[in-house]
């Protein structure tokens, strides 16, 4: 049996398979599989105050993918800490709380509240394409990103993962800026900005017009970006983007990820995260891998 254990920014995970923020809900996904089997769980975006999210339709299908413009609908940090976090902490895996904001001040207030909780790690979303002026602007400019991360580093000792956007010219610049300001890890990629127009109604399919593209269609983009970021920074990488099978997860690990998150697959096959974990373990056995460290030996391309 290969040893699947990983250490991500000082936190021990029993295996490297987790879920992508926004595609997982313990109360709902837990109807289909045993959450305890996951390496870690990741919440939907939590902001300082409650957010209503965007109007519907929020979902559109695309070839080999989907667009969403949910817009980070959430209860706000106070209610999250009271109502959701205790429920999530009962599972036998680290809880990563994803944090969203529209300004440095908003991010800071959310992180401050979450720092005083039992959250095991924070994932700072600076890459959501679905919020006006929010999130994404911090994820596309290395200077702005650095300023935000510097402020957050001051107020939290929790392991802090920065979630990066692929909607940039050079993702390694932002990754370096994050590492330079003391981020403990990088997660990538968030969704790619996309759009669909219904040729019968002649109107955009999503109420917001544009949304974030995810699913197997974007996997090569994720592999490429993980590969480049791996060469740019030393901190751990949680890779994500179109992982549908255990072999896809292995591909992201070979590109440079230390852990892999399953997103859209968990929406189109509710039990996908545990299926992918099983397939991933099978791949390691087939390849004669003894531990996750073995992936590193093959990264000299």
């Amino acid at each position: 049996m290969p040893d699947l254990k990983v250490n991500i920014a000082g936190v021990k995970w029993k295996n490297p398979i987790t879920v992508c923020s926004g595609t997982f809900s313990a109360r709902d996904s837990g109807d289909f599989y045993d959450i305890d089997r996951l390496g870690a769980i990741v919440t939907k975006g939590v902001s300082a105050e409650p957010w209503e999210g965007n109007p519907t339709p929020r979902i559109a299908e695309t070839y080999g993918g989907m667009l969403n413009s949910v817009g980070l609908q959430n209860l706000g940090a106070d209610r999250f800490c009271k109502e959701e976090l205790p429920y999530l902490k009962q599972f036998d895996c680290p809880v990563i709380v994803n944090v969203a904001g529209k300004s440095i001040d908003e991010y800071c207030r959310a992180v401050e509240k979450l720092s005083a909780t039992e959250a095991d790690m924070l994932e700072i979303n600076i890459s959501c394409p679905n919020i006006k002026e929010g999130g994404l602007s911090f994820g596309t400019d290395p200077v702005t990103a650095a300023r935000l991360i510097r402020e957050l580093r001051r107020i939290t000792n929790k392991p802090m993962i920065i979630k990066l956007s692929p909607n940039v010219t050079d993702i390694t610049e932002i990754a370096r800026a994050a590492e330079g300001e003391g981020a403990d890890g990088i997660s990538l990629i968030n969704t790619l900005l996309g759009m669909r127009i219904d040729v019968r109604t002649k109107k955009p399919v999503l109420a917001m017009g544009m949304g974030g593209l995810s699913g197997p269609a974007i996997k090569p983009v994720a592999v490429q970006m993980i590969y480049r970021v791996r060469k740019a920074v030393r901190i751990p990488i949680i890779g994500m983007g179109g992982v549908m099978t255990g072999e896809d997860a292995a591909e992201l690990m070979l590109a440079g990820a230390d852990a892999v998150a399953v997103g859209t697959a968990g929406l189109v096959d509710p039990a996908a995260p545990v299926r992918i974990l099983e397939e991933f373990e099978k791949y390691m056995k087939e390849q004669g891998f003894k531990s996750i460290e073995d992936f590193k030996y093959y990264r000299d391309f």
Binding site: G22, T23, F24, S25, R27, D28, S29, D31, F32, K44, E52, G53, T56, P57, R58, I59, A60, E61, Y63, G64, G65, M66, N68, V70, Q73, G215, P216, T264, G266, L267, V268, D269, P270, A271
Partner: protein, 269 residues
Amino acid sequence: MKEVFCTKVLKNELIAKGIYSMILEYHEEIACRIIPGQFVNLYLNRKDLLLPRPLSICRVLTESINIVYRISGSGTKELSCYLPGALIRVSSPLGNGFDLSICEKDVKPKASIVGGGIGVPPLLELTHRLVGMGVSVQAVLGFQDEPYLYEEFQKAGAAVRLATDSGKTGFRGTVMDLIKDETSVQEAEERFLGEICFACGPSPMLSALSGHCIKTGTLLQVSLEERMGCGFGACVGCVCKIKTSDGAILKKVCKDGPVFPGNEVVFDA
């Protein structure tokens, strides 16, 4: 626990223009727990069409379920091509169905069913259950042009009134036109829609019906439709506004619904 399992298409045939009726093999022990108004996710055998198609359950049969669907895009078109014997993945029953507790009382209420277009199929299993409980059912079914399934409602024991936009069959106009027409001539004590009404159909119809039922004092339960992602609550793609004492909150159509009390739904203008 809920699951997604592989099952067999037993029948898949055109029953009206653009409308198909599919019978799927289904685990008996799950089928017997289906509540009318629930739906299943159907997962297509195509890698490029990722999202499940959430389709309402029209009838629960012996070791099978009947789904009646309209071709409205590439997914349902694909579905219509599956021949008997084809294998397809299907989910456990999802969502909350109609609340029939009021009909379990000794004094049975008079109930009505109001369906518009592709909102008609999920009301058939409900009609069977209601009639089986000894409830008298008035069904008002509306279609654009060609009615379908209405004979099944008659066979189930409901009194059926038809409305078609084209006037081809039954009343010419919408179900709401028909209901308002009837209500104006009926005596107050024998209210046309009865004490409780169950409805599924286009949003403007449900919105108008909700206003009407508040006036006539009829309890209303509506089954909503919204574009879904996962269909089981994780993605929060399909939300609707539900009134609360201090405003409104967003609820998930797939997991908190699709059936909601008619007077609590905030319909978009």
